[in-house]
Amino acid sequence: MYQQDCKIVEKEQIKSDVFVLTLESKEIASKADPGQFVEISCGQNTDFILRRPFSIHHVKDSTIKILFRTIGRATMSLSSYSKGDILNIIGPLGQGFEISKEAIIIAGGMGIAPLYYLAEQMLAKGIKPRVLIGAKNKKELLGQEAISELGVEPKIATDDGSIGFKGLVTDLLKQEIYTQIPNPSSLIPTLYACGPEPMLYEVAKIANDNSLDNQLSFERFMACGLGACLSCVCETKKGLIRVCKEGPVIGGEELLEV
């Protein structure tokens, strides 16, 4: 874990409200696992005082990328920074995904942020995951191209059917599990998911019904991001855990009420 002033070496705007920042940090880049996150100080002299957590979206050489949507004060402020500016960053934080030999990746909305890096790392290890991406509609869809460029054609689900399967990405997941010919390798897949909480619970349920391992990346309100303040807790079968420390990736079998 490091705290550093990192230079923004690249800034891309990929939708009207979605940005990618590339940040220089040899140390964080060298330690970052897929599923881990960073805590960023998103502005000076602002009326918000807490850092904000963002998943590590990509690592290359001595840089990391984050992918974010502007939804409030801090992300708006973050989007006003430019190439060359400096951000103070703490990371890598939390427990990431454990890579297994056979994988189905399920991304809902911004959930693609950590899962893109996961897919990339799997491919680097010679594992070819299946990737399902869900979005409200074609316009809000994130990550299709990026995943394709990795050499995996993602399956898409949109609420309104404006592209791909019409319905929830979890319905697409059920199809994938129940109707697709089992993968020739005949290995049992692990499910990897990140997205809105109801989606994660649904994935856990599907995994449970099919006795599949599953690793879910959760979001909780975080004040410290370091495990000190106990504001990010989640109840699990093991008791209360800190999502910033024991998470954000949690085994679905540990959730209560699935």
Partner: protein, 303 residues
């Protein structure tokens, strides 16, 4: 340059302390800052048996502040002594244990357990947590019960006893005076201010507990006023806190008479805050041509 101060006879290498509940047991921050540099570490509130705390969501951000309703989740004093204290011991800094209880007896039991270890430098009696019904604030909101608890615990421990006051009261100086008379060796203030926030889309509270404690820069002016009033009223040492985020803030509290300051929420904004404050205080002393932090303490000129 001499930054050392004494609180209730306990010598701190500098007046910068971490505030209870915002620094865990130091472990989390030890990868980012050198704990040896701190004046003291105050650990999270400790109860006799493990406490679950309040349901999630437990925190939210407000304008220049945050609300928390953690509710004193902790694994109990024994777990602390077995698993955290050995770690803390390895650093050259003072350790202050913040203690909580649902009954006078529980406070006493926790104090006894900690006193036995001989590895704690002082106790901080938390009678001011606004987040739990029993314990905490129910003892601290009126002078009589605060005084009774103080003297009950004081009898059972040889450790310096710091009593932490709630700002949710009408007359903080009177409250301070009563715990001084009851035997407190020092006073710390402020704990958080009871507040709330609503998600207008859902019409629900942002905290599951509905209300929580407000901390951060937003409260600094009120906290500073209270620390000033208490310093004028009592003869025992005072530790000031509430919204301190930089060396200037710390200097304000010291100038009104606090012997030391504690940093809470600002650790979340920037884990380097305590270290930066220690450096910054040296710069302030230098600019004032002072060589000893004790010259700064109480130097406020009310005219």
């Amino acid at each position: 340059m001499d930054l050392s101060v004494k609180i209730a006879g306990l010598k701190l290498k500098n007046p910068v302390i971490t505030a209870s509940g915002t620094f865990g047991s130091g472990r989390e921050y030890s990868q980012l800052i050198d704990l040896n540099k701190l004046g003291a570490i105050t650990v999270k509130g400790l109860s006799l048996n493990p406490w679950e705390g309040n349901p999630y969501p437990r925190a939210t951000e407000t304008s220049c502040g945050m609300l928390n309703s953690i509710g004193l989740q902790n694994k109990g004093v024994k777990d602390f002594i077995d698993n955290e204290l050995p770690f803390l011991e390895s650093f050259n800094t003072c350790v202050i244990a913040n203690i909580v209880g649902k009954t006078v007896q529980e406070y006493i039991d926790v104090a006894k357990e900690l006193s036995k270890t001989k590895k704690i430098d002082a106790l901080e009696l938390n009678i001011s947590c606004p987040n739990i019904k029993e314990g905490g604030i129910s003892f601290g909101s009126d002078s009589d019960s605060a005084a009774r608890l103080t003297s009950a615990v004081k009898e059972k421990t040889d450790l310096p006893l710091i009593v932490k006051l709630t700002p949710n009261c009408a007359d903080i100086a009177a409250l301070a005076k009563s715990v001084e008379l009851a035997g407190a060796d020092a006073i710390s203030l402020v704990n958080t201010f009871l507040g709330m926030a609503i998600d207008i889309d859902t019409a629900k509270p942002k905290l599951a507990n509905i209300v929580g404690g407000l901390s951060g820069p937003a409260i600094k002016p009120i906290a500073l006023r209270m620390v000033w009033q208490v310093c004028k009223e009592v003869d025992i040492d005072v530790i000031g806190m509430g919204g301190i985020a930089n060396a200037n803030d710390a200097a304000e509290f010291l100038m009104v008479g606090a012997k030391a300051v504690a940093v809470g929420t600002a650790n979340f904004s920037d884990p380097q805050t305590t270290i930066d404050i220690i450096k910054g205080l040296k710069i302030i002393l230098k600019s004032k041509e002072m060589t000893d932090i004790k010259e700064l303490i109480g130097s406020f000129n009310a005219r």
